[in-house]
């Protein structure tokens, strides 16, 4: 897909975190090809919410220390 390669090239141009971003971009493209925008949204949401959920758990442990 053209869009995939074009964006990949752009990502490679910046030196900060290019490697990580390329991986994420590959995943986004995979999700997009599988289920369109909805799949992209749901995958990113899931990941971010999982991180937040872990964080909330830790905060509740920290709160108990008070």
């Amino acid at each position: 897909m053209k869009y995939k390669e074009k964006v990949k090239e752009k990502i490679k141009e910046s030196d900060i975190r290019a490697k990580e971003r390329l991986k994420i971009w590959d995943k986004i493209c995979e999700d997009y090809e599988k289920g369109g925008a909805e799949q992209v949204k749901s995958d990113i949401s899931e990941r971010v919410n999982a991180i937040k959920s872990d964080f909330d758990e830790i905060i509740s442990i920290l709160n108990k220390m008070l």
Partner: protein, 721 residues
């Protein structure tokens, strides 16, 4: 280059089970007819044959395709068979879909020029290799949908920008950006930050609160005599050592073996230590001989006091009675005297009675006579003597006179005296009774006193003689008890002082413990950032931040690519677009159309402007027909430039002439004629004017006229070339 040569449709959408074949021999193919005659189904058949389920449902990105039905309702199977001319010869693509028993079966077959056949995945790969165009690009650059024109025509810039993005084939970028936007990652990060913020606030509050409590406790400790330098572990340890020594000493002083109290290994155990010390002190004290002795002596004293009080009271009571008796005798004489007096009175009464007796026979006679005479007066016989019966004048008066003057007075005198004596008699009798009562009381009191003396005797363990005064002995005993009590109380006081001193030290231990506990807690809170959990929280913040920055930067790159691609496409097609627009609209005010695309600073998306030769925005002055012409010009201009990027040598237009004026339609047809030099045009329309213009002006065309569509037989198609 790929050119469609033939389309055969069976059971697909508007076509029930009946083969309809469309030959593509001319540059312009017009599918003409009213709505719902099956025209669009022909166009749809092409895309479905090439792209299969990519062009249906949600994946297509076209809202109307959500519940798209492939198989005609009067058929069990849809077959689309397309012949495409390639550089190497004719390629046939046959796609089918059948429904039966609730299942859908799909097949795809590609027959290559050399006769070889590919099926399923190989067939799909072959198509992809041939076409080299994604469905998204096909749907925007090959096939101009009605929706696309409608969207460009709208006055709303945001909708127009969106439509332009699609027209320029940027749908993938837009969709991905949409997906990223909808994930709302920034909101999640915001919530996380707020959560952490709340935690920090809580920490600060807790520390503040505990510091205030600590200060209070320190002040309390100082008021109890503790110095600053003692408010630490060392100070605590010293106090605990002291107290342990004191407790042991106390135990040995009492002569009781003390319990072993383990010395705390750290300050945290000091509160338990203090508790145990308190318990031990109480235990020792309760078992202390002094306390026992004090208890016993107190009990003895209590008893002695009671006996003493009882004895004194009893004695007083007896004395009172005896005094009473003395007074009585003084007032009234002794019992003997009373008896004597009683005897005398009795004699006097008897004498009087005798005297009365003497007088009384006479008196009784007179009395009786008076009575009889009084009775007789009623029968007028009052003067007749009741004895002899002789009439005696004034007998009654005489008798009454005798009675009054002599007898009565004497008797009265005697009666009165007798009465007097009898009265005295009564008094003396009362005195007798009183006397006896007093004597009885005295006896009783004496008896009770003896009881008390017996009790005293038992208490002291001594039998008293008559000469011995029990009270004296009792008092002596009391004196001894009190002396011993005094000694014991002194000893107890002394020991209580020691106990208080130990307990005071114990309280200090508790105070220092509380201070250390609070300091420790504050330190723990202040060190929360050194815990693994806190570090993990920091790590998670970093991970989230990295992820979000990556996503945001990727989104920025996608936007950059989108705007660059838009710019490139526009720049390569700009001249053609302007040319087509001028030709179709012939707007005298506009000599040139320029498309500018920039990044919208607010939305981050592409923002399109349409400028004239003087760099003025033209959209405020364009009519609906002009907008439509603009949309058509862009589509046609791009398709002209796209020749290099993919091999499809045809474009499809569905109802392209909406909103065009008659003149614009004519000019549009002229433009189509120009475009058809390089591309096949497959056009679907219900516009009679357009159809007429095409018929008149287009050199080489085929017109398929659709009419009389029925569910069973589909459309009736008339073909003219």
């Amino acid at each position: 280059m790929l050119q469609i040569k033939k389309i055969k449709i069976d059971g697909f959408r508007g076509f029930p089970i009946k083969s309809d074949t469309f030959e593509i021999k001319n540059p312009i193919i017009l599918f003409y007819g009213e709505n719902h005659q099956g025209k669009s189904s022909v166009l749809n058949a092409i895309e479905w044959c090439l792209y299969g389920d990519k062009c249906t449902g949600v994946k297509s990105g076209i809202r109307e395709r959500k519940d798209w039905e492939i198989v005609n309702r009067n058929s069990s199977k849809a077959i689309v068979d397309i012949e495409i001319e390639t550089d190497k010869g004719i390629v046939r693509i046959i796609r089918t879909e059948s429904k039966g028993n609730g299942r859908i079966e799909r097949t795809i077959e590609v027959v290559l020029p050399d006769g070889s056949v590919k099926n399923e995945d190989d067939a799909e790969s072959e198509i992809t290799r041939l076409v080299r165009l994604s469905y998204m690009d096909y749907a925007t650059t090959i096939y101009q949908h009605q929706e696309a024109i409608r969207a460009i025509v709208t006055q709303k810039p945001s909708l127009r920008n969106e439509a332009m993005d699609l027209l320029l084939g940027l749908a993938d970028y837009i969709n991905i950006l949409y997906g990223i936007k909808m994930s709302k990652i920034k909101d999640v990060q915001r919530k996380l930050v707020d959560n952490f913020d709340n935690f920090q606030e809580k920490v600060e509050d807790r520390i503040k609160f505990r510091q205030e409590e600590l200060e209070k406790n320190k002040n309390k400790a100082k008021s109890k005599g503790l110095k600053n330098k003692e408010l630490n572990e060392k100070g605590l340890k010293n106090y605990m050592l002291d107290i342990k020594k004191d407790t042991n000493k106390f135990a040995s002083q009492l002569g009781i073996s003390g319990k072993h109290i383990p010395f705390p290994s750290n300050w945290k155990e000091s509160s338990i230590f203090a508790e145990l010390i308190e318990e031990e002190i109480d235990r020792l004290w309760s078992k202390s001989p002094d306390i026992k002795g004090q208890r016993e002596l107190s009990s003895k004293k209590f008893e002695a006091d009671n006996l003493k009080e009882k004895y004194i009271r009893q004695k007083k009571s007896l004395q009172k009675q005896k005094t009473g008796l003395k007074k009585f005798e003084k007032d009234y004489g002794s019992l003997g005297e009373i008896d004597d007096e009683l005897k005398n009175i009795q004699k006097d009464i008897n004498d009087i009675n005798e005297e009365i007796k003497c007088i009384s026979p006479k008196a009784s006679l007179v009395k009786e006579g008076i009575r009889i005479l009084k009775d007789a007066s009623l029968s007028l016989k009052e003067n007749v003597c009741p004895l002899c019966g002789e009439e005696v004048p004034n007998l009654l008066d005489h008798l009454e006179k005798e009675w009054k003057q002599k007898i009565k007075i004497e008797i009265n005198k005697l009666d009165s005296k007798k009465e007097e004596l009898e009265g005295r008699w009564g008094e003396l009798e009362d005195l007798q009774i009183k006397y006896e009562r007093i004597v009885k009381d005295i006896e009783r009191e004496e008896k009770e006193l003896l009881e008390v003396i017996k009790d005293i005797s038992n208490f002291l363990g001594k039998k008293f003689t008559d000469q011995e005064d029990p009270l004296a002995f009792l008092e002596k005993e009391l004196g001894e008890i009190e002396m011993n009590l005094k000694k014991i109380n002194k000893s107890i006081k002394n020991k209580l002082g020691k106990i208080n001193s130990i307990k005071e030290k114990n309280n200090k231990i508790i105070l220092i413990h509380n201070i250390l506990e609070q300091e420790n807690k504050i330190e723990d809170i202040m060190k929360i950032n050194e815990t693994d959990e806190y570090k993990e929280a920091e790590n998670i913040r970093d991970i989230l931040s990295e992820f979000i920055s990556d996503i945001e930067e990727i989104a920025n790159k996608v936007r950059e690519c989108s705007v660059n691609e838009a710019k490139n496409k526009i720049s390569s097609a700009e001249a053609a677009i302007s040319d087509f627009f001028m030709k179709i609209t012939k707007n005298p005010g506009i000599k040139q159309i320029k498309l500018i695309v920039e990044k919208d600073s607010r939305t981050g998306g592409n923002s399109y402007s349409f400028l004239d030769q003087d760099e003025n925005e033209v959209t405020p002055i364009l009519s609906l027909g002009d907008f439509n012409s603009l949309a058509l010009s862009i589509f046609l201009g791009l398709s002209k430039m796209d020749s290099e990027s993919h091999p499809l040598k045809f474009i499809i237009m569905d109802d392209p002439s909406q909103s065009l004026s008659e003149k614009q339609k004519k000019r549009f047809v002229e433009v189509l004629e120009e475009v058809s030099q390089s591309k096949n045009l497959l056009i679907s329309t219900m516009d009679t004017e357009l159809q007429n213009f095409l018929e008149r002006l287009a050199l080489k065309k085929t017109i398929y006229e659709f009419s009389k569509w029925t569910p069973d037989s589909g459309p009736s198609i008339n073909c003219r070339t």
